[in-house]
C-alpha cells in the first residue's frame, strides 16, 4: 500500500488516542467513568449505539455477502425499529429511572442476587469471547492481505483501543464512536461513488444484470422456520433478537444509561432505528456493485492472497487448470454481460430474456470453478476458506485511487475499535459493579473503584487480545461459546419481561431463566433445522411461561422502581 494511505491510517489512530486522553479530564469518579455522569446528548449516544453494533465484521463480511448473495440479508434487521420502539416505552424508562450501572443490577432489586449474578456471568462469558473474535476477524484479513504476522495486526487494533478505553472510560468510547461513525460512512460513500463512476455500462443495465442473478431479491415471504433470512424471521425472530441485544446486553444498555434523560435515551435508540435498515441496505448494495464491477474486470480466482499462494504452491497443476478454466469463464461472462446491456438498450424483450439467460449460464460456470477453488483452498490450508471476507479489501487495495485505501483501512479499524471499546467498557462495568463491589468490597472510596475499573478494563483488553491471537487455534471453541451465548439472549430478555409482571417472584425468575436456557439448548440440539433467529423467541416464551407458572398464587410484588 502507498505511504500516503499509511499516513491517513496513522493520523486516524493518533487522533482517536489523543482525543481519548483528552477525555480523561472529565473522568474523576466511577459514575463519570462508566456513565459519563449521565450527561451525553441523545445524538452522540445514538451514533455510539450504531457504531458499537457496526463492527469490522459488518464492514468487511456484509459487503462481501452482498457481492455473493445479494440484498436478502437486510431482512434480518426488519425487526430492529419495532424492537427500538418497544424498548423506548418499556425497558429504557425502567433502567434509566432505576439509576443503575448495569442492567443486571436492576434484577437484584426486583428479584434476588443470584438472578443478577447468573445473568451477569452469562454476559461476561459470551461477551468476553466475542470481544476476542471482533479483534480477530479484521486482524486475520489484514494479516493475510499485507502478509504481516497476526500478532501485529491484533496489536494495531487492540492496543490503541485498550489505551483510550482504559484512560477515558465511556466518555472516550462514546465520542470516539461518533468520529468513527463518520469515518465509516465516509469510506462507504467514497466506495459507492467510485463504483458508480467506473461502471463501464449504464447503472440501470448493470442492476438488471444483478437482478437476473437474484441478488436484488430482497423480500422472501415464505414462512419456513429452516430458512434464516425471511420477512417473517426478520419481523418476529429479529424483533426478539434486537429486544434481547439492545435491552439486556450491557454493551448496549450502558450507552443509553449515559444519556441525560429518559427522553434522550429513547431518542438515541430511535436514532439507531432510523438509520440501521437504510445503512445495512447500502452496505449490501455496495457488495452488489462490487460484483457488477468485477464482471468487467479480471476478478481474482481466490480473493484471499494467502490461500491463493498456498494452492498455487501445494497443488500447482490443479491451480493452473482452475486458473485457465476461470480465465475463459470470466471472459465469457463479461461478453454475456455486455450483450445483456446492449439488449437492454435495444428494448427488445425477447433479446433481453435470451441475453440474460446466457449471462446466468456463464455466471453458473464461474460459480462452479470458484467452488472448486474454494474447496482446494480449504483442503490445503486446513481451515474454512471465508473468501467472502476478502472481496472488499482486495477491491479497495487493487482498484481504488490513492488515499481511498487509507480511508477504508481507517474505517475498518474504526469499526473494530468502536465495537471493542464499548464491549471492554461494559465488561469492566459488569465485573466491578456486579461482582467486585457486590461480593468482594461493597464499601470503598470512589478513587478506589475508579482504579479497579481501569485495571479491569485493561485486563479484559489483554484477555480479548490473547483470544484474538489464538483465534485460529481456538476457532471451534470460540464458535461454541458464541453459539452458547446466543442461547442466553432470549432467556435473559424473558427475565426482564418477568420483572415487569408484578406477581412474579425470585423463584419464578431464576427457575424460568434456567428452563429457558435448557429449552433453547434442547431445540438447538434436537431440532437443528430451526434457524437461530427463532431461538430468542423460544427462549422468551419458555422463561415467561415457567416464571408465570411458578408464580401462580404468589402475592403481588411491588416493583422497586417505576418511571
Amino acid at each position: 500500500m502507498h505511504w500516503i494511505n499509511w499516513v491517513i491510517v496513522a493520523v486516524y489512530l493518533v487522533v482517536v488516542v489523543v482525543d481519548g486522553l483528552r477525555r480523561t479530564r472529565g473522568t474523576t469518579n466511577i459514575e463519570g467513568y462508566f456513565l459519563a455522569n449521565r450527561s451525553l446528548p441523545w445524538w452522540a449516544v445514538g451514533l455510539s449505539v450504531m457504531a458499537t453494533q457496526l463492527s469490522a465484521i459488518t464492514l468487511i463480511g456484509t459487503t462481501g455477502q452482498g457481492a455473493t448473495d445479494g440484498l436478502k440479508f437486510v431482512q434480518f434487521y426488519f425487526g430492529l425499529p419495532i424492537a427500538m420502539v418497544i424498548l423506548g416505552v418499556t425497558l429504557v424508562p425502567f433502567l434509566h429511572g432505576a439509576k443503575v450501572y448495569t442492567a443486571y443490577e436492576y434484577l437484584e432489586r426486583r428479584f434476588d442476587p443470584k438472578t443478577r449474578s447468573l445473568t451477569s456471568v452469562l454476559f461476561l462469558l459470551s461477551r468476553g469471547m466475542s470481544c476476542g473474535t471482533i479483534i480477530a476477524a479484521p486482524s486475520v484479513v489484514l494479516s493475510s492481505i499485507f502478509g504481516w504476522d497476526l500478532i501485529w495486526c491484533v496489536a494495531l487494533i487492540g492496543v490503541p483501543t485498550v489505551v483510550y478505553t482504559v484512560l477515558g472510560g465511556v466518555q472516550a468510547v462514546a465520542w470516539a464512536d461518533v468520529k468513527q461513525m463518520f469515518v465509516i460512512a465516509g469510506a462507504m460513500l467514497a466506495i459507492i461513488i467510485v463504483l458508480i463512476v467506473r461502471m463501464p455500462i449504464p447503472l440501470d443495465d448493470a442492476l438488471h444484470i444483478a437482478g437476473a442473478t437474484g441478488r436484488l431479491q430482497v423480500f422472501d415471504f415464505s414462512f419456513d422456520l429452516s430458512k434464516t433470512y425471511t420477512f417473517w424471521s426478520g419481523i418476529l425472530g429479529g424483533t426478539f433478537l434486537m429486544l434481547s441485544y439492545f435491552g439486556t446486553d450491557q454493551s448496549q444498555v450502558q450507552r443509553y444509561l449515559a444519556a441525560r434523560s429518559v427522553d434522550e435515551a429513547r431518542s438515541s435508540l430511535l436514532m439507531s432505528a432510523y438509520w440501521k435498515i437504510p445503512l445495512q441496505a447500502l452496505i449490501l448494495l455496495t457488495g452488489v456493485l462490487v460484483f457488477l464491477f468485477y464482471l468487467f474486470q479480471p476478478a481474482p480466482l481466490l480473493y484471499n492472497p494467502r490461500h491463493d499462494a498456498l494452492v498455487q504452491q501445494q497443488e500447482p497443476t490443479a491451480y493452473a487448470s482452475l486458473q485457465s478454466r476461470y480465465t475463459l469463464a470470466i471472459a465469457s461472462r463479461q461478453a454475456a454481460a455486455r450483450a445483456a446491456s446492449t439488449a437492454q438498450r435495444s428494448g427488445d424483450d425477447a433479446a433481453v430474456a435470451s441475453a440474460l439467460a446466457a449471462f446466468r449460464t456463464s455466471e453458473s460456470e464461474v460459480g462452479v470453478i470458484r467452488t472448486d477453488a474454494l474447496d482446494a483452498a480449504s483442503r490445503v490450508s486446513g481451515e474454512a476458506s471465508r473468501d467472502v471476507n476478502y472481496i472488499i479489501p482486495r477491491f479497495v487495495l487493487d482498484q481504488l485511487p490513492l488515499g481511498f485505501a487509507g480511508v477504508f483501512i481507517a474505517a475498518v479499524l474504526a469499526a473494530a475499535m468502536s465495537s471493542i471499546a464499548a464491549e471492554l467498557n461494559s465488561l469492566s462495568t459488569a465485573t466491578v459493579v456486579d461482582f467486585y463491589q457486590r461480593w468482594i468490597r461493597p464499601t470503598a472510596s470512589d478513587a478506589h473503584f475508579l482504579n479497579v475499573s481501569k485495571i479491569a478494563t485493561a485486563l479484559w483488553g489483554v484477555f480479548a487480545c490473547i483470544v484474538a491471537t489464538y483465534a485460529a487455534t481456538l476457532g471451534s471453541l470460540i464458535e461454541v461459546v458464541n453459539r452458547f451465548g446466543s442461547f442466553f439472549y432470549g432467556s435473559i430478555l424473558g427475565v426482564f419481561v418477568l420483572a415487569m409482571i408484578p406477581r412474579v417472584g425470585a423463584l419464578g425468575a431464576f427457575v424460568g431463566l434456567l428452563s429457558g436456557m435448557a429449552t433453547v439448548g434442547a431445540v438447538a440440539i434436537y431440532v437443528p433445522s430451526i434457524s437461530f433467529l427463532w431461538h430468542n423467541l423460544i427462549g422468551v416464551v419458555a422463561v415467561v411461561a415457567v416464571g408465570l407458572l411458578l408464580s401462580i398464587g404468589s402475592p403481588r410484588a411491588t416493583p422497586p422502581v417505576s418511571r
Binding site: 423480500f219 431518542s267 432510523y274 424483450d349
Partner: protein, 91 residues
C-alpha cells in the same frame, strides 16, 4: 436459488411476476398479498397509538412522538424503495 430463478424466468418471461406475487386490481401493481394489506393496517395502528390523546399514553411525550413518526416514516420509505428495486430489477 439460481436454478429456481432461471426456470421461472424461462417459463414465465419478463412480464409475468413470480408465483408468490399477486396483482392489486385497484392499482394494477404487483405485490405480495401481505404487503398490499400491511400499509393500511400499520398506518391505522400507528395512528391510533400515536395520535390518541388518551392519558394511558402519557409516556408518549412530544419529543418521543415526533421521533417515532420520523422512524416510521423512514422505515416505510426504505421498505418502499427496496420493494421498487426488487420489482424493477429482480427477474
Amino acid at each position: 436459488m439460481q436454478a429456481k430463478t432461471a426456470s421461472s424466468f424461462a417459463l414465465s418471461g419478463r412480464d409475468l411476476p413470480p408465483t408468490n406475487i399477486v396483482r392489486n386490481d385497484v392499482t394494477g401493481q404487483y405485490g405480495h398479498p401481505c404487503i398490499l394489506t400491511l400499509p393500511p393496517v400499520m398506518a391505522a395502528g400507528a395512528y391510533s397509538l400515536l395520535a390518541s390523546p388518551s392519558s394511558k399514553f402519557a409516556w408518549m411525550t412530544p419529543p418521543f412522538r415526533t421521533t417515532l413518526w420520523r422512524v416510521l416514516g423512514i422505515q416505510l420509505v426504505t421498505l418502499a424503495l427496496l420493494w421498487l428495486l426488487q420489482s424493477r430489477y429482480a427477474t
